[in-house]
């Protein structure tokens, strides 16, 4: 199985070069107690980061259904960031562990159907880590910019 996994490569086509006016859209799904509070702290401390992320608040990272990630990639997003509390610090005791497991499986699935692994990313950001949140967003945005616009499995491509 490991060997098969290694052989899977992204089927995203690099020749689809981004038009100059293209700006990536990243959907950030953050847990209310750590990462969302952390992103608020980023704002309060006026730490600047790229303006491509659109943040959605959920109570816990374990609320994130793989469906959300897939739906985002199908419709509006070029990349997805899921962020929760650090391991052991979950406001709901163990939610972030479920989120982590679910995310790893989802990521494998997405890789298998051809998405580049940098399209979806996961991070731990606590309520005190405003600066870290800015760094995470910066990194995800840079990664997605490198990959270019996401055409794979976009719904409009199927309707044509």
């Amino acid at each position: 199985m490991e060997e098969v996994k290694d052989k899977i490569v992204s089927i995203e086509k690099p020749e689809l070069i981004a038009p100059p006016e293209w700006k990536p859209v990243i959907v950030g799904i953050l847990c209310n107690w750590c990462s969302y509070a952390g992103s608020d702290l980023t704002g309060t401390s006026r730490t600047q980061y790229p303006p491509n992320i659109r943040i959605i608040r959920v109570p816990c990272s374990s609320r994130v259904d793989p469906w959300f990630i897939i739906k985002a990639l199908q419709t509006t997003a070029d990349g997805v960031l899921i962020s929760g509390c650090h391991p052991g610090d979950c406001h709901y005791i163990s939610g972030n562990y479920y989120a982590r497991r679910r995310f790893l499986v989802t990521k494998e699935l997405l890789k298998m159907v051809g998405f580049h692994e940098h399209r979806v990313q996961f991070s731990w950001v606590s309520a005190a880590e405003g600066a870290k949140f800015a760094q995470v967003v910066k990194k995800v945005t840079e990664d997605v910019v490198k990959l270019g616009p996401l055409h794979l499995y976009k719904k409009e491509n199927f309707s044509k």
Binding site: G43, Q48, R54, I55, H91, Y92
Partner: protein, 657 residues
């Protein structure tokens, strides 16, 4: 069809300077469902809220979007405005265009405006799927748990108990009193610390509404606000407190000597000990790590001399349970170990001590009978160098914050030194003197004038031994030259750090902490004593360094919060809980397994209308559910939804970007 009202806030200049607010309003008006959109300078102000209330009535709105600051800030305010206008408060959505747009994209107004427009559109899309929700009432257990018996815990426990609410006070060490019991005199009045603390300690022990559980630790906390269940491990003391009279025969006869924590290890205590003479409760405990009877089965002298037969070597740890409604955490502080300051020779030179060790020496009940002495030869020092900010405000050594109390206690130490050794002189190396507080600046002036203490503004670069003396080489920044002081004793005002077990405790309680281990408050300015978890409050240095008056004030604030929480027979709980659609539930019970609160049980319902065959479905106890949503994401038949964060709401948000 939904009729949404959009209200965009300028937040003074906070939003308006970096986001073109009128454009956001125009963009919002383009959305089909938006029937009304407007901007205003301060939406949270009374006229702003009035605009919302008026528009709800005038335009028959079905949901409201406020584009302003973080929902963590003013969601409650706006919800209240909605209910004042007769609308269900949960039909509100907040678009966070301040923390998530104007404040973080200050260099690109167009991008920030576009993003704000997107955020508003997302919130509108979500609000269309919002449902009317109603607060849930849950019963409340009127008993508070206070963790830590220092001055913070003592004050909180007394204030809560005075309101006739039962309190369980758990203290890790054999006696309450904490750090304050170790202090000699307190700034800025030079009150004797013990004299003002011990009456409070006795009050705790004798208060009819306080249950004091010393020598024990909280090991588990389950439940939710108003209905917590705590497990407390009472460590084996090997002394039966009921029959012990506290006569002291046992510890006088005990042959095993152990470094005395109360005196910062300057002298020794016995393996069976009371931490200090005024201890509450004044009953000895056996230190199992050092008692030879417990380690090797030899000795037992204490048992022989105990007339009451109170010594019981077979005692074991005991776990007790308490049902409680609220928790006050007051675990206090520790001193940072200054070993990383190699240039000072910490650990190499005996005559370098920290400020608590100095405090114990000058204390009348201390190991040296109230006289400062050099640990190396026992001589009384004539020249003492105090170095402030050792660790604190030093990013290179890992602690960036100011420990807040060192400026004041160092001034106090200079005065105490002068009182104890009249012909002595104190040299104080400082970075800044931070004496903000009632009577504090005057106190520092008093130290300088009365004792002739020499304040040198600058850092110490090196300490080295020269004969019996310690040579302290530093900088006098005001003269701009190097100085060298021949010192008999060096006292380091080391940084204050939180208790090392704070992270573990925070995990156990389900609250958050910062990178230093200080427990985090819900809001640094407006909710300084609450944590993000309802019903858990913080008092004292467990949250940040602070002095005694501030600690006491915060402890009393905690007590007020607890009393407020317990004022009614029920408490209101957010209606963001999961519900099961039984028609869809396949009875796989995956949700039962993932629920961290055991809020999901199963029930049997008839297979069809009037059928005799039964099938199993999940059932959620809404009082216990905390609304994390784990069960929603695990449910394979999509039978569970979380109110306020339903699948349609989140999908709407994603699609609307």
């Amino acid at each position: 069809m939904a009729r949404v009202g959009v209200f965009v806030c300028f937040c003074g200049a906070n939003i308006a300077d970096f986001v073109d607010v009128p454009t956001v309003v125009e963009e919002a008006k383009k959305i089909r469902e938006v029937k009304f959109a407007v901007d205003y300078k301060y939406m949270c102000s009374d006229p702003g809220q009035q605009m919302i209330r008026d528009a709800i009535v005038q335009y028959r709105l079905t949901s409201i979007v406020v584009a302003a600051c973080s929902p963590r800030m003013h969601e409650k305010t706006f919800r209240k405005a909605l209910s004042d206008a007769g609308m269900n408060p949960y039909l509100l959505e907040v678009a966070n265009i301040r923390e998530h747009s104007s404040w973080v994209h200050q260099k690109d107004k167009k991008a920030a405006t576009d993003k704000a427009g997107d955020l508003v559109r997302m919130a509108v899309a979500k609000s269309i799927a919002n449902e009317q929700l109603h607060e849930i009432s849950v019963p409340v257990t009127k008993r508070a748990l206070v963790i830590g018996g220092g001055i913070a815990g003592i004050q909180a426990a007394l204030d809560i108990a005075d309101a006739r609410i039962p309190v369980t006070l758990v203290e890790r060490s054999p006696s309450i009193g904490g750090r304050m019991a170790q202090l000699d005199e307190t700034f800025p009045t030079l009150d004797c610390s013990q004299c003002i603390l011990t009456p409070k300690m006795v009050d705790v022990a004798s208060h009819p509404f306080i249950e004091l559980i010393p020598y024990s630790e909280v090991i588990e906390l389950d439940g939710y606000v108003g209905n917590y269940k705590a497990k407390i491990r009472k460590k084996a003391s090997y002394v039966n407190f009921k029959s012990c009279t506290g006569c002291g025969a046992c510890w006088q006869k005990c042959p095993v000597k152990v470094p005395n924590e109360y005196n910062m290890g300057i002298d020794t205590r016995k393996a069976i000990y009371t931490p200090f003479p005024q201890a509450v409760p004044n009953k000895p405990v056996i230190d199992a790590k050092h008692c030879t009877m417990l380690l090797k089965g030899k000795c037992g002298i204490c048992a022989k001399f105990c007339e009451k037969g109170a010594i019981d070597f077979k005692m074991t740890d005991e776990v007790i349970e308490r049902e409680i409604g609220a928790v006050v955490v007051a675990t206090g502080y520790d001193l940072w170990d200054a070993t990383p300051y190699e240039e000072y020779g910490v650990g190499r030179y005996k005559d370098i001590i920290n400020s608590l060790e100095f405090e114990r020496m000058v204390s009348a009940n201390g190991p040296t009978g109230g006289l400062p002495v050099r640990p190396s030869d026992g001589k009384v020092p004539k020249t003492v160098v105090f170095i402030k900010c050792v660790g604190s405000r030093d990013k290179a050594k890992g602690i960036e914050f100011c420990s807040k109390i060192c400026c004041m206690y160092t001034a106090k130490h200079a005065i105490l030194l002068h009182h104890k050794v009249h012909d002595s002189r104190a040299y104080i190396f400082y970075m800044d003197i931070r004496a903000a507080g009632k009577g504090y600046e005057e106190f520092v002036n008093r130290a300088q004038v009365e004792t002739g203490a020499v304040y040198l503004r600058g850092r110490v670069s090196k300490i080295y031994q020269k004969g019996e003396k310690l040579m302290v080489r530093g900088e006098d920044g005001q003269l701009g030259q190097e100085v060298e002081v021949e010192a008999d004793l060096v006292v380091l005002a080391t940084a204050i750090i939180p208790d090392k077990e704070n992270p573990a405790l925070a995990r156990l309680l389900g609250i958050s902490y910062d990178k230093y281990g200080y427990l985090s408050e819900a809001h640094p300015k407006l909710r300084p004593v609450e944590t993000a978890k309802a019903g858990i409050f913080l008092a004292g240095c467990t949250q940040a360094p602070k002095d005694i008056p501030e600690t006491v004030a915060q402890a009393s604030a905690c007590a007020a919060k607890v009393c407020g929480l317990f004022a009614g027979d029920t408490i209101k709980k957010d209606p963001m809980v999961s519900t099961v659609n039984k028609d869809f539930c396949s009875g796989c019970q995956n949700c039962v397994k993932v629920c961290p609160y055991q809020a999901i049980v199963t029930e049997d319902i008839p297979l069809g209308h009037g059928a005799k065959e039964m099938r199993t479905v999940a059932k959620i106890n809404e009082g216990v559910c905390q609304g994390c949503g784990s069960c929603v994401a695990i449910c394979r038949s999509m039978a569970i939804n979380l109110a306020g964060f339903t699948d349609p709401q989140i999908i709407n948000e994603i699609v609307a970007i």
